[in-house]
Symmetry: C2
Subunit: 211 residues, 2 copies
């Protein structure tokens, strides 16, 4: 059913690595998945404020189509959302894709590509005003699914989103098996993963953290 | 308080990327953290069955100490747990570290280093018999904290473990702020992230999945 499913992940300087690797870990396990890690330029990509280096298999100029396009976020997205080459490529690939997904501020790149005008979407809690600038209607939700476009909230939300997307692509049982395989039975030590739960003092601390 | 905290992550061919990147995303945000991504050899490291390439900043032979040593898992751990150079290095760094942490089958490398003899520990659900071979006492828990050694269950459990470790290092409020920053308010689409919850049919499917 999903034989030869091509999944393209956009990575770039200033990416938040978990935005990318969470969904990669889920979606690359789909039976028949062929993943490509693409960047504006092929080769080394500096992420996490220069603390980690990833390697892009391909330049986006060499990618003409994908069944699934995944756009993670990170501080670099605030630059890329204005990059004409990246947004034109995103628009072109998205137009032909079966599914398009963003994580965190990856939604800003979809926004820059004109894909979210008038649409419900989510993003990192700190980036909602920016998302609105692209004409999207920010929703307080961990995952927003509208047609074939999935947007996820900040960073770790990509794992939840990717499992839902895996279910849409390959059925619930395959998604459940992937969830078990990555032992995703979350037990966070604190219940403060959203602004509503965290309170003002933790919000202030979180805004002061770098990255 | 934790100024200049050195955190060394061991990566290697055959790593499961989320095992590494989950904790990296959490711990690299600690105030004063200086992270090093180390591997048996410096340079490119092939992970996720060859689907992703990471870059190691340093060879382990050039790392003599760490405040925190983090050992993620993956299929390659079943080879590395028998690698004398890696296990001797792990034992040496662990002996001087403030904290030692493993994720998933990273615990097998700690086991190979002789660090878990007679100790309670956890690992990926599929790897518990192997952990026992190293003299550890496998516990059904997402995180096991014994003294300064933390072991986490499979893959995604590293995020929960790293938040707890962050709290031990820098206090609950900093850990909570990191949790909010990465918006870790998990909402998995299914409740099947552990063998007990998944049932036999999903277990069978999960065992058949590659990776």
């Amino acid at each position: 059913m999903n034989d030869g499913l091509s999944i393209v992940f956009l990575i770039y300087d200033g990416l938040t690595p978990l935005d990318f690797v969470g969904p990669f870990e889920v979606l690359s396990r789909l039976p028949g998945a062929r993943t490509t890690v693409a960047a504006p330029r092929r080769g080394e990509v500096s992420v996490a404020g220069g603390k980690l280096t990833l390697v892009a298999d391909a330049a986006i100029s060499n990618i003409n189509a994908a069944d699934v396009l995944v756009v993670p976020g990170g501080p670099g997205a605030r630059t890329l959302m204005h990059d004409a080459a990246v947004t034109a490529w995103t628009r072109d690939i998205a137009a032909k894709a079966r599914f398009v997904a963003s994580i965190c501020t990856g939604s800003l790149i979809l926004g820059g590509a004109g894909l979210l005008k008038g649409e419900d979407a989510t993003t990192h809690w700190a980036a909602k005003p920016l998302l609105e600038q692209w004409g999207a209607k920010p929703v307080d939700a961990r995952i927003v699914e509208r047609g074939n476009v999935f947007t996820a909230a900040g960073v770790s939300a990509g794992i939840d989103m990717a499992l839902l997307l895996a279910a849409r692509i390959a059925g619930d049982d395959v998604a459940k098996a992937i969830q078990l395989r990555i032992e995703y039975d979350p037990q966070p030590p604190f219940d403060c993963g959203s602004p509503a739960k965290a309170g003002t003092e933790i919000m202030r601390l979180a805004r002061d953290l770098t990255g």
